[in-house]
Symmetry: C2
Subunit: 125 residues, 2 copies
DNA sequence: CTTGCCTCTGACGCTGGCGTCAGGTTTTAG
DNA sequence: CTAAAACCTGACGCCAGCGTCAGAGGCAAG
C-alpha cells in the first residue's frame, strides 16, 4: 500500500499566473468572477493558485478565440479537468467542435474569395 | 462606335435588400451610417438600392465573420468594386489574408485539442 | 378613405471581455 | 525601517454591431 504524501506544491500569486499565461491581472480576476478559476486565499486575502492555473488560463484564451463564452466554458470544464463526464456534457463538447469546424470552413471559403480578389487586383492594376 | 443605353435597372427598397441578404433592416441602415453602402433616395426620402447591394451586404457579413471592422472594410472596398487599386490597398488586402490564415490555423489547433479531449471523455466515461 | 405594411429619423440598450482609475493593504528588496 | 512593487475591492468605461422602442410619414389595395 502506497501513501501519497502530497508534495508541498508551491502556490503562486496572481501576477505570476498572468505573466505566465500572457494575460492581464485584471483578466485573471475576471475569470474568477465568472466562475472559471477558483483560487485559495492567503490569510491576508491574496489569491493563491497552483501552477496548473497557467495552462488553464491559456486554455481559456484558446476557447475565447474559438468563440466560446465564459459561461459555456464553465459548463465544459468537467470534461476537461475531471475524469467523470455525463452524456450531456459530451454532447455539448461535440456540438462546440462542430461549431468550430463550421467556422473554419467559413473562413476558408472567405480566404478563397479573398485570394481571387487578390489575383485580380494584382494582374489588373 | 457603340452607345450603351443604361438599362432601366429596377431599384429596390431596404426591406428587399435585408431579406435578400439575410440581415435586418437595421443592419443595412447601420452599414450606410458606417459608409459601407451608399443609397439613392426617393423624393420622399426612402433609400433605393441596386440589386447588387444584396451580394455586397453578403460580402460585408463574410468580412465581419472574418473579424474585420467596418472601417477596415471601407478601406478595402476599392479593391473589390473598382478596377483601380494602389499598392497600399493591395498590401492591406494581403495583410488581412494573412490574419485570416493565422486565425484558421489557430482554430485548427484548437479543434485538434478538443478532439483529444473528446477521445478521452469518450473512452474514459 | 382607410387599413395595413413599409419606411424614416433619432436615441437609448445590450453583450462580453476586459481597461482603467481610486483608494487602501501587503509583501518584498535594500 | 522604508520605499517600491504587488495585491485587494469596487465601480465606471469602452467598443462594435446591431436590437428595440417612439413617433411620424409613405404607399398600394379594397
Amino acid at each position: 500500500m502506497t501513501v501519497t504524501v502530497s508534495a508541498p506544491e508551491r502556490l503562486i500569486r496572481i501576477g505570476e499566473v498572468a505573466r505566465g499565461a500572457g494575460v492581464s491581472v485584471r483578466a485573471v480576476r475576471y475569470y474568477e468572477q465568472q466562475g472559471l478559476l477558483i483560487a485559495e486565499r492567503s490569510p491576508s486575502g491574496q489569491r493563491l493558485y497552483r501552477q496548473d492555473a497557467i495552462p488553464l488560463v491559456r486554455f481559456f484564451q484558446e476557447m475565447f478565440a474559438a468563440g466560446l463564452t465564459s459561461r459555456r466554458i464553465t459548463e465544459l470544464l468537467p470534461c476537461w479537468d475531471s475524469g467523470h463526464t455525463d452524456a450531456e456534457q459530451r454532447a455539448m463538447l461535440r456540438a462546440e467542435r462542430e461549431r468550430i469546424q463550421a467556422k473554419i470552413d467559413d473562413l476558408q471559403a472567405t480566404l478563397d474569395h479573398l485570394d481571387e480578389v487578390i489575383a485580380i487586383t494584382d494582374t489588373h492594376p
